[in-house]
Point group: C2
Chain length 208, copies 2
């Protein structure tokens, strides 16, 4: 996966796949043991590196949380935001957001029903204040994008009469909650879940 350039990126390893693997493993361990309970040794062991080898890729525990969140927001930017922004039609942009964000979460979930990178994105208490500002700013930009799409949809006469901010967060909650329950070894494929979430979000639970 290409890590896209953006003002919030950490210096990127020359082996981006290896770095991604490290961040995903670290996120899983943090989810299991908590951030304070996670050691650099645990992470090195999980990815088959010596501790010295791990320090070749990441500078230490202090920047680990921020690194994981930046990695997660970069993936969101590249796989969800950029493709959605490229489209003209508001409904198509909304469908792309739902489909690509669901796929981003489900395609990297574990059999224990966790996408740990997405979950760790919520652990902002462990960041320094400047790090937290940067991550919050990127999250806010995503919420604003969804609200803009809903406003455009309303202008096209296609939005149900719902409050736009509530609708944006409701949609986000549906998608992000997948990171806590979706089991890739279960009954539904990532593609099927994306379809079902889109149906539930766009047409609602009650029959018309």
């Amino acid at each position: 996966m290409r890590i896209i350039e953006n003002p919030f990126s950490l210096p990127v390893s020359r082996e981006p796949n290896r770095l991604g693997e490290i961040y995903r493993a670290a996120a899983r361990i943090i989810r299991e043991k908590g951030f304070d309970g996670t050691s650099m040794n645990d992470i090195a062991e999980a990815v088959g590196l010596t501790k010295a080898g791990l320090y070749h890729h990441i500078s230490g525990k202090r920047d680990l949380l921020f690194g994981i969140m930046t990695y997660g927001m970069d993936a969101l930017e590249q796989e969800v935001i950029v493709p959605a922004r490229a489209l003209e039609d508001a409904e198509q942009r909304l469908r792309t957001i739902i489909h690509n964000h669901v796929r981003l979460i489900t395609s990297r979930s574990n059999s224990d029903g966790n996408n740990a990178v997405t979950i760790v994105l919520d652990e902002v208490a462990g960041l320094t204040p400047p790090q937290r500002r940067k991550i919050d700013q990127r999250k806010r930009a995503y919420v604003d994008l969804i609200r803009d799409i809903l406003r455009d949809l309303a202008a096209d006469g296609k939005l149900n009469a719902v409050d736009i901010t509530t609708a944006a967060f409701a949609l986000l909650g549906m998608i992000l909650w997948l990171s806590r329950w979706y089991n890739p070894e279960g009954r539904l494929s990532p593609e099927q879940v994306a379809e079902e979430v889109a149906k539930a979000a766009l047409t609602g639970l009650l029959r018309h």
Copy 2:
């Protein structure tokens, strides 16, 4: 608030309101500082007790997380599950779940947009295995209740053609995510948010 009897309850303080206040304050501090960064002193200070006074109510940090989660699940049981189960009609049960659960979260949110008790309910990594089994069991029972309601709704011919498990978790995600964004000092009252979430969930984002 009366703490209802159930097999998972911790021994309840003779001053249930005080205990609730302690759990809510502890959850806020855990959300801010992380569980390992939270001391009994922090909690005592937040609720205006001496450390000895605090130990009169709770046995120590070890059982604190489980205590907060039990408190949160008791409130869910009492304010959402029991009233919904009392109703015959599936659509009314679903509307009661949405309305009462949204109200439970929004009516106890802070101005920083957090309902910390709801958020701490997700910190299962800090529990002992038997504690985790108990909390997971209660959460699963709630998901099962929602799925049963959706099945009854389908039997009444009122459910949109959506996968029932995906729909149940999508609905839960919408509601639980409120704990991370709803600001009671903002534009929308708890009652308005409950209405808007119900509209978004039941009739969807797209106009028909």
